[in-house]
Assembly symmetry: C2
Homo-oligomer: 320 residues x 2
């Protein structure tokens, strides 16, 4: 029997996230609490806690700081991403960058990274190796993405490598550490890792689709926001400006190029929707979702395993 | 007897610094190697290794990755500082920011931070707590400095708090971990920590003095570079511009204000030199150097202790 439900676990994660950014340096505390309290889906800590429970862990409290650290990595990268993307809103709120300026946003992101360190330190060597590895991959993924955006070249292999590193690796690390903390067998830990890795791929592909066809009110940001910054399933050539840009889309291994001329942004979005790229991306998301589902079959059936399975559907069917 | 000399130890640190930034993502590898190979005084890893040896450590190789991690923290912050300060040169070479642009510089700094994590992970819980704490203080110190620069207010207490956090904490952490790795007594570890903390304060005060009166060729950057960015012993009011700025100097607890009007930068520098602020700062550096020297008396005499003592003189008397 577990003493904490998953809802209690997430509440405990929220508490840690808020409490750990307790600096006496006002701007760090305020900017950190601003981004932390802006919510987010919390899918990464949820996944980490569910993996711990599915692997037979008895005291979720031991996994809570790790789950919080996983969400903290994600939060730190959001703050730095928003600087690089010049984003003004995030989750319907003003970004740290827009409110406190670039210098303090950069330092707030660094501060949140140091808090990952603080939260993880007590877990010892193996766990810190896993976390370090995930963080390295995440930064590499972001860098590959920025490189692809700059060159205007994005093929299917590059896209896969980007989303594997920038998103799937952190999902995988949370589930792996959850399984290891629960003391599960290597086979169970591997199954949870493969599940989480593919859930992460699915999540990111759907995220990129929503950037093209989603409802801006539900998303809390304008449709095309990532696209305008050369992110997501396609890369816009010629730097940051969309006007007159040539759009290259990774479309099932083929490259589709669209040139937006007059009223360029709307036309470009329409072309993307019509190009078939979104349909291909949807198929890819379904494929990775099946891989995640198959990996779950290696785990003994339980209500928690059902929750992990539900997570796949939530990720696949979400509209924000 | 030790198998490695301190020179061998520093060579091993250099090798690790170069080897650990082995990403297949070209820009991360190149930008990291660029900043790492630009040299620097390596005083932090030298201090960490000497502390290990002075505390009776027998195998310096066990302290080398930790010493490299300490230098890596410093290196990561340099890359991010140069973004915030718009600096074009560092150690006589072009900055990462100037050569690869802001986005890649931000990501390179993040990447170097993840490598700190990787290098430290094998040391386990206590060491990672010490390192996390030092990193948190460092970011807090940088943030206090940016806050003081923005407000134009810098009194003696604020200055002390800034240099303690942004510089002395990392010096202290390296020496503390060196002593702990060597298995020294709590008293020896504390003495090494107090020594290193005060050495760090001395180092930073001298650094700020050199920014006002140093030789630009020796420094590898223009005199007044930090001052122009509202760093160092004084804060320039009204944001980033020096022209016509009012300069407020922390002068032994008193505030000295100078207004630069025509040919403003040169006049301001001259006023600062004449204000007595530099002389007061020199006295402060001598005071912290004495504290460092006194702490060293708690350590048993040895050739390595002599090297630690020489480090104080090197820091105090340096001209670059």
């Amino acid at each position: 029997m577990t003493t904490l439900s998953i809802t209690d676990g997430i509440t405990a994660v929220e508490q840690i996230l808020q409490d750990v950014v307790d600096s006496d340096v006002e701007v760090l505390r305020q900017a950190s609490q601003h981004i932390i309290s802006s919510g987010g889906k919390r899918i990464r800590p949820r996944l980490a806690l569910l993996a711990y429970l599915a692997a037979g862990g008895a005291d979720p409290l031991e996994a809570v700081p790790m789950a919080a650290a996983i969400e903290m990595v994600h939060t730190a990268t959001l703050v730095h991403d928003d600087i690089n993307d010049h984003s003004l809103t995030r989750r319907g709120k003003i970004t740290v960058h827009a409110r406190w300026g670039r210098t303090f946003a950069l330092l707030t992101g660094d501060y949140l990274f140091t808090k990952v360190y603080e939260l993880m330190a007590p877990y010892g060597g193996d766990f810190n190796v896993t976390m370090a590895d995930a963080c390295i991959k995440l930064v590499e993924g972001e860098t590959l993405q920025a490189t692809a955006a700059k060159s205007g070249m994005m093929d299917r292999e590059t896209y896969k490598s980007i989303i594997a590193r920038k998103t799937a690796s952190l999902f995988e690390a949370g589930a792996r550490m959850g399984g290891q903390l629960a003391g599960a067998s290597e086979a169970i830990v591997e199954a949870l890792s493969v599940y989480a890795y593919n859930l992460g791929l699915t999540f990111q592909i759907v995220d990129d689709i929503l950037d093209i066809i989603g409802d801006p009110e539900k998303l809390g940001k304008p449709v095309g926001a990532d696209l305008a910054q050369n992110r997501g399933v396609m890369a816009v050539q010629n730097g940051d400006r969309v006007a007159g840009a040539k759009v290259t889309v990774a479309n099932g291994g083929e490259m589709v190029t669209a040139v937006a001329d007059a009223n360029p942004f709307q036309q470009m979005m329409a072309r993307l929707r019509d190009s078939g790229a979104v349909d291909v991306a949807r198929l890819q998301a379904q494929e990775t979702a099946v891989r995640a589902r198959n990996a779950l079959q290696q785990i003994p059936p339980s209500p928690v395993r059902d929750e992990l399975e539900n997570l796949i559907d939530m990720v696949l069917d979400r509209d924000k």
